[in-house]
């Protein structure tokens, strides 16, 4: 019989460390563990099961989109009817397919997110080319706004990842507000740069000021005012 010297509990013969405190237990017979262990080396089938379902969904969507692209292609070749519209439809279908692929989480989260961003940018560029627009909306607005959203959401994910074990009802609203402030300032900046030609923030400052106040309020409720500050307030405001 083997015992853990730290916990004082009996452990199964052949185990290498205590199941409670990980304290190493000298092993007299390595082969014993394999032969006599009560449980087998378990296999986790979750990812396999999950992948099967995911593949089925992805291929179903893929086949539908592919069929639609073929139909659009045939219409494009057979009927000389509104080619521009058909190009938009085909572009839309390809973009949906790409977005579904990234949403299915086949790659690492960061790559998926980057892929979705690239899809949006490329789609906008194609729309810009198909329409043959005179003004430069792609470089002036679409690219900066998409990049701003990409950077904003990346920041939001990073902050959320490091605070996810904290109180959900304080940290999630705080993060959403920070995200909104960043996006508002960015949007305001892009608009002012394009219209006025220089950086001139207006409404986004109101959003930022109110957002910061709400964050301070939430954090104060959560952490409570420090005893020292409370003492000062009590002394200064006593009636």
């Amino acid at each position: 019989m083997a015992y853990c010297p730290k916990c004082g509990v009996e452990v199964e013969h052949g185990v290498k460390k205590c199941p409670l405190c990980d304290f190493p237990i000298p092993n007299v017979d390595d082969a014993y563990e394999l032969v006599n262990s009560k449980y087998p080396q378990a296999i986790n089938t979750y990812y396999q099961d999950h992948l099967g379902k995911k593949n089925l969904a992805f291929f179903s969507i893929g086949i539908i989109i592919l069929s639609m692209i073929v139909i659009v292609g045939v219409i494009y070749m057979v009927y000389p009817w509104n080619h521009e519209l058909l190009k938009y439809v085909a572009l839309g279908l390809i973009s949906i397919f790409a977005i579904v692929f990234f949403a299915m989480d086949y790659l690492k989260p960061n790559y998926n997110f980057l892929g979705a961003y690239m899809t949006v940018v490329i789609t906008c560029y194609c729309v810009y080319n198909i329409s043959g627009s005179q003004n430069n909306w792609f470089l002036d607005y679409a690219l900066p706004i998409a990049t701003l959203l990409y950077l904003g959401v990346s920041l939001f994910r990073l902050v959320l990842k490091h605070t996810r074990h904290q109180s959900k009802f304080v940290f999630i609203p705080t993060n959403i507000i920070i995200f909104s402030i960043v996006i508002a300032i960015g949007l305001d900046g892009i608009i002012s740069l394009n219209i006025l030609g220089n950086l001139h923030l207006t409404w986004s400052l109101v959003v930022a000021a109110s957002g910061v106040c709400i964050i301070i309020l939430l954090q104060t409720i959560y952490h409570r005012i420090p005893e020292k500050t409370r003492k000062i307030i009590r002394e200064k405001l006593h009636i």
């Binding site: 853990c4 916990c7 004082g8 509990v9 009996e10 452990v11 199964e12 205590c18 199941p19 409670l20 405190c21 990980d22 009560k38 449980y39 087998p40 080396q41 378990a42 296999i43 986790n44 089938t45 979750y46 990812y47 099961d49 999950h50 074990h165 409570r224």
Partner: protein, 431 residues
């Protein structure tokens, strides 16, 4: 004739079953396990034969889950369940919603038989009856033993009593009883979750007699004593956490204790028939000593574990189920919202669970061949650590089921038992 009646028979889910089928997910499989250790390696052919012999006596378990427009339901199947060697993690999700599997599975590994049940079909008491019947049949085929006294196991030659599969919640439901107060948000273990699909088991085996002696000294039951030790362990864990004293004192610890209602009502159903009580200790009132916790639990149980109070829980649950606006919501909408509602209102009200299935016995004739009994709770994401206790042949199995790799609570808990001078043997599937 009797068998014909059960063919193509439709079994509506019981009150708890409705919830379990709706909240089941890859992490919350709602599957619990009964493990039986034998003195010899299991013969899979005989186990299969035994299962085939007894399954006709349990037509309400020989079913597959079907999808209705408003609710799931069980339908009798002529298929015969197959035993399998244990290869996967315990309490693995049953792909029930696809209508492919039975609501239970019989596994074996070396000298162990594991019977895993989906909680939507039966509770621990019902599962134990099935397992005991299977064991008796196994030894009848293997050793030719026909016990005289079957105990709680079923006689497979007897007729099926419709009361065995009744929804006792509905039978003993009394309308117009006010609902119990809603639960408060309590302390939850901040442990990292394991990967989806993984589930760890850790059993501590202790002799019953010294624990009974200690419970007697404290004038409480063995469940209350173990519950007190568990509360004390969680409290000690909170005391050691790196957070301010003020935050520690804001914590409320509650442990979910299922009560087998067959002891309170004259029901013989094998399906779910239990209600959970939530004894709690509030650290805002200060830290508790073991004696204070025992007094608190005894007071709580004395106040709430009676038919009148239990009726409030039964009535609330049945009323919710029969609420017409809930019933007419299509199943796919229910499936979407029930897990959220359950996480918000169900699991937020308790830190962990402790379930005592009491003393399990097998007929004297096969006692020499049955070494141990263990029962493991179903995995849960919110309540990452749960405990089930069951005693057999003078040994008490304290089985933790965990969706986390942390062992800090069990370490404190079992060290406390060791400090009482009681030997503990630990077994786990963690590698």
């Amino acid at each position: 004739m009797e068998e014909k009646q059960h063919k193509n028979k439709f079994y509506s889910l019981d009150n708890a079953g409705f919830l379990y089928t709706a909240i089941a997910s890859s992490r919350m499989s709602t599957v619990y396990r009964i493990s039986v250790g034998l003195s010899e390696p299991v013969d899979s052919t005989i186990l299969q034969k035994a299962l085939e012999q007894i399954i006709h006596r349990f037509p309400y378990f020989q079913v597959t889950l079907k999808r209705g427009f408003f609710w799931y339901y069980y339908q009798h199947t002529e298929a015969i369940p197959k035993v399998g060697e244990e290869t996967y993690y315990p309490c693995k999700t049953m792909r029930q919603r696809q209508g492919k599997t039975f609501p239970f599975r019989v596994l074996y590994y070396k000298s162990y038989i594991h019977v895993e049940f989906n909680h939507s079909i039966c509770d621990g008491a019902g599962g134990l009856v099935f397992t005991q019947t299977l064991l008796i049949e196994y030894f009848k085929i293997q050793k030719g033993i026909s016990p005289k006294n079957l105990g709680k196991a079923m006689d497979i030659e007897s007729e099926v009593d419709p009361k065995e599969f009744e929804d006792s919640f509905k039978v003993y439901y009394k309308g117009k009883v006010p609902s119990p107060p809603s639960s408060k948000k309590v302390f939850h273990f901040p442990f990292e979750l394991l990967d989806k699909g993984e589930y760890l088991l850790l059993t501590g085996i202790v002799p019953v007699d010294p624990l009974l002696g200690l419970a007697k000294i404290h004038q409480c039951t063995i469940t209350q004593f173990m519950l007190a030790l568990y509360f004390e362990s969680i409290q000690e864990y909170i005391q050691g956490l790196p957070m301010s004293e003020k935050k520690k004192q804001r914590q409320l610890i509650a442990i979910n204790v299922p009560v087998d209602l067959r002891k309170m009502f004259p029901s013989i159903t094998l399906r779910n028939f239990f209600i959970s009580l939530n004894p709690e200790i509030d650290l805002a009132l200060g830290y508790y000593t073991r004696e204070e916790i025992i007094e608190q639990i005894k007071g709580y149980m004395g106040l709430y574990m009676n038919r009148k109070n239990i009726n409030r829980y039964i009535s609330r649950n049945v009323r919710n189920e029969q609420f017409i606006f809930l019933r007419i919501i299509p199943l796919w909408v229910k499936k979407l919202f029930m897990p959220i509602v359950y996480n918000r209102f169900g699991e937020r009200g308790y830190t962990s669970g402790l379930s005592n299935l009491g003393v399990v016995s097998v007929p004297e004739e096969i006692k020499a061949y049955v070494k141990s009994f263990e029962v493991f709770p179903p995995p849960s994401a919110e309540s990452r650590l749960k405990l089930v206790m069951v005693s057999y042949n003078g040994s008490l199995s304290l089985s933790f089921g965990k969706t986390t790799g942390e062992t800090v609570i069990e370490k404190i808990f079992f060290r406390k038992i060791r400090k009482l001078g009681i030997p503990v043997k630990i077994e786990t599937n963690k590698r």
